[in-house]
Structures are given as structure tokens and as C-alpha cells.
Amino acid sequence: MTVIPAVSLCDIRKKFGHLEVLKGVSFDAKEGDVISILGSSGSGKSTMLRCINMLEVPTSGTVSIHGEQIATRVKNGSTVPANSRQVDRIRSDVAMVFQSFNLWSHMTILQNVIEAPIHVQNRPRKECIAEAEALLEKVGIADKRGAYPSELSGGQQQRAAIARALAQKPKVLLFDEPTSALDPELVGEVLTVMRALANEGRTMLVVTHEMGFAREVSDRILFLHKGQIEVDGRPDEIFTKGMNAQFDQFTSRVH
């Protein structure tokens, strides 16, 4: 009996004008997988991640979340989602953490965390607040619930963003270079939270430069080069030298 993958990408191609950023990318992520996505700039890794929740719409290829394929159609020469309700619904189940946190600046941390559960998922306010408090406690910034994003450090803001993502009770968590915009000394606190989430058995897809995290926490590593997946395997397998020329170059440069 085949297990339905949590995320399934099938031959995804993405063109920006004349530039083809993704040249046929396919993989399946099982539920509970923690997948790190590595690659140099321009390799298409962020684009691929953003295709999963349709922040970028693939020029061709299909994206399926828990077996449900996201419908697209061609309009005026470009591909767009066919059913915006479906996209909104799926986005509600697939939460994203951004490189620049993107907390809503006119709301307090608590308000940020309860926003989607109340207004998108229509859950009762009391329940959402209680959960939000618990989540803020979990990521370690419970005392900042009444503060505004601009009053927090980068690390605190990112942890708040993670709490906001978790509040959606998502089936899949997407992380787009979550620590790249942080000062080095703040990276650790965010990675700690992410490690804890991984240990809970969540399905996580993480675009990152943090090799340590990739090696130690992920079940699987995808390495993208020039729009294609060059390497796809378990950390203990792929970090042996000689597997793939580009990957070796990449790892030697990063370290």
C-alpha cells in the first residue's frame, strides 16, 4: 500500500521571462520528513520552495499536497492557479517562515500569531489566544506577546514568525532561509526551535545554508544546481566525497 506523500512535486519547470530557473524538478516528501534544500544562489531552491504554496506558480508540472493536486491554468500566456479558494485552503495547511520574518508590523506579536487562526481558519478567539500563548512559550518569547515586531531582535522576530506558522496547525512547514538574515549570534536560538520541531515529527522543508543543521537534523538532503536536483539522499550517504562534482564544490566553498 503506497503512503500518500505529504508534498509531491512532479517535473516542475519555472521560467521568469526568458530565464528558466527550474528545469524539471521532482521529488516526494513523506509525512514526518525533515528535508534540507541546499544550493548556491541562483540554483532555484527558494523558487522551488515557493512553488509548493503557489507563491510562485510553476510554468509547467504539478504540485500535490497530501494527494491533492493544485489546479493551474494558462491565462494570457502565463500559468496561474485555477481555483483561488483551493489555493487559500491549501496555504492555510502549509505554513511558511520567511527569511525576513514578514511579521505584520501594525500588530503585536500575539495578534500576529492569532491572526490566521481567527480570520482564515475561523477558529474561536479564546482557543486561538490560549494556543498562541502556549506557542510563544514554546519558542521562548512568551513575555513579548504585547510587543510590536520592531521592538524585538531578529532572532526573537523569527521565533515569533515560527509560532505564527505553527498556530495554523499546518500539515507541512516551509522554511525559506530562516536564518540568513540573522546576526550570527542569533542563529542558534532559531535553529534550536527548529530542531525541536523536527524531533516532534513534523514535516519540514527547509531551504538553508546551515550545513550543521542539514547534516544533523534532516532525514534527507536535496542539492540543487542550476535548476535541477543534482543530489537527493540521506546525510550520511551524500557527505562522502566523490558522489557529485557540483556538490563537492559547493560543500568545500561553504565550509
Binding site: 504554496n53 487559500d88 485552503r89 501594525h106 491572526e115 490566521a116 482564515v120 481558519q121
Partner: protein, 239 residues
């Protein structure tokens, strides 16, 4: 020696109460004009941002024309033009001669039309200043367009727009003085009448100027307060 207390008092010879009423009418016509301008201005801003080519051209043309033509000319247009149009309609019913439009309506409409051009620019600039990242986060959380507009875009738009709108408001208050040419008994016209009647133009025009300045001070304080409240989360970010 002129008895200033009597002159500016509320007695039968005193102009104090008339000036107060004039000031009230000034503020009233300014408020109505400002809101008309806000409604129309947001439509024009929307046309410039989200419309197709003819709409965008209309929006741009509107803001260029109305910011480039003297307000006095617009008021003349509304007053005489409006009256002429009304006179033509009344003429169908057998009425001859000049039919004057209610000056409050004319004044507010003219103010609205001109301030709409400025407010449209304020709204447009505020919209382009919105944080793309935050809107992306809203989409990623599954918000549909109307929800995102209501919960994320509008609050942030207001935050960016308040300083500019404060300036437009002051502009509107000063423009309201021009509405005096229609005969509306707002502050300017009242001051004029008092000056002519008492042969003390300096005293009364100075008084008028001081009252306008008082309105300006009060408005500025109000808007500064509004700005502070809307910026609650951003004081740090401004450094």
C-alpha cells in the same frame, strides 16, 4: 478708543458670535469637502494603481489638471457653472434669471474635487510604500484578497497616509476661505462683512487670521496625535 470687548463680544454690536459661527461653518465645509475628497481621491488612486490604461490616464490627468489650476477658478466653475446648469433646468419649468446654488454645497463640492487630486497622490504613494513581505506572509497564511485588504493593507495604508492627509487637511481649511466668493458666511466672508461694517479692516482681518491660525494649531495637534497612535509599533524602526 475702540472698545475691543464690545467689538468682539456677543452683544448686538459685537461680532464675536458671528465670527464664532463663521469659524464653525468654515470647519463644517472643510470637513465635508475633505471627506468628499477622500472618497473620490481613493477612487482616483485606485484608477491609477489598478485600472486599465484609459483609467490610469484619466487618474493621472485628473491629478495633474486639478493640482495645476487655481482653486478659485474651480470654485467659479462650480458656482457659476452649477447655477447656470440649475438655471437651465429650472428654465424648463418656466423659471427665468439666475438661480443660485446653495453655497455650502458648491463650496464643499469644489473643495472635494480639488482635495481629491491631492489625496489621490497621498493614497498612491502610501500604497507603493506597503511592505511586500508582509503581504506575502498574508497570502502564505491563506488569506484571500478581501481579508488581506481589510486586515493588513488598510491599517498600513492609513499609517503611511496620515502625515500627507494632515497636510491636505490644512490645505482644505485654507481653501475654504476662497469659498467666501460664493457668499457663504464662513469665517472669511464674516470677517469681510465685519471689516466693512465697522471700518476696522485691520482689526478684523487680523482677528480672522488669528482664528485660522488657531484652527491650524488645533488640527496639527490632532494629526500629530493620530500619527503617534498609528505609529505605535514603528518608533524604533524610524531610527
Amino acid at each position: 478708543m475702540i472698545d475691543y470687548l464690545k467689538l468682539f463680544g456677543t452683544g448686538p454690536d459685537g461680532w464675536g458670535d458671528d465670527l464664532a459661527i463663521g469659524a464653525a461653518i468654515t470647519i463644517a465645509v472643510a470637513i465635508v469637502g475633505f471627506f468628499l475628497g477622500a472618497v473620490f481621491g481613493s477612487l482616483v488612486a485606485w484608477a491609477r494603481l489598478a485600472g486599465n490604461l484609459p483609467l490610469r490616464l484619466f487618474g493621472e490627468g485628473y491629478t495633474t489638471v486639478l493640482r495645476g489650476i487655481p482653486d478659485l477658478l474651480v470654485i467659479y466653475l462650480f458656482y457659476f457653472g452649477g447655477s447656470a446648469a440649475l438655471g437651465a433646468i429650472m428654465g424648463l419649468f418656466g423659471n427665468q434669471g439666475f438661480v443660485a446654488l446653495p453655497s455650502f454645497a458648491v463650496g464643499a463640492a469644489a473643495i472635494g474635487v480639488v482635495s481629491a487630486a491631492y489625496q489621490a497622490e497621498v493614497f498612491r504613494a502610501s500604497f507603493t510604500a506597503l511592505s511586500k513581505g508582509e503581504m506575502e506572509a498574508a497570502r502564505a497564511a491563506g488569506m484571500h484578497k478581501w481579508l488581506m485588504f481589510r486586515r493588513i493593507i488598510v491599517p498600513q495604508l492609513l499609517r503611511h497616509a496620515i502625515p500627507g492627509l494632515g497636510n491636505v487637511w490644512l490645505l482644505v481649511v485654507k481653501e475654504s476661505a476662497l469659498v467666501s466668493v460664493t457668499g457663504l458666511a464662513e469665517l472669511m466672508r464674516t470677517t469681510q462683512l465685519a471689516a466693512g461694517s465697522t471700518r476696522l479692516p485691520f482689526d478684523f482681518y487680523l482677528a480672522g487670521a488669528l482664528i485660522y491660525l488657531a484652527i491650524t494649531i488645533f488640527s496639527t495637534l490632532l494629526f500629530a496625535q493620530a500619527e503617534r497612535r498609528s505609529r505605535r509599533g514603528f518608533r524604533e524602526a524610524m531610527r
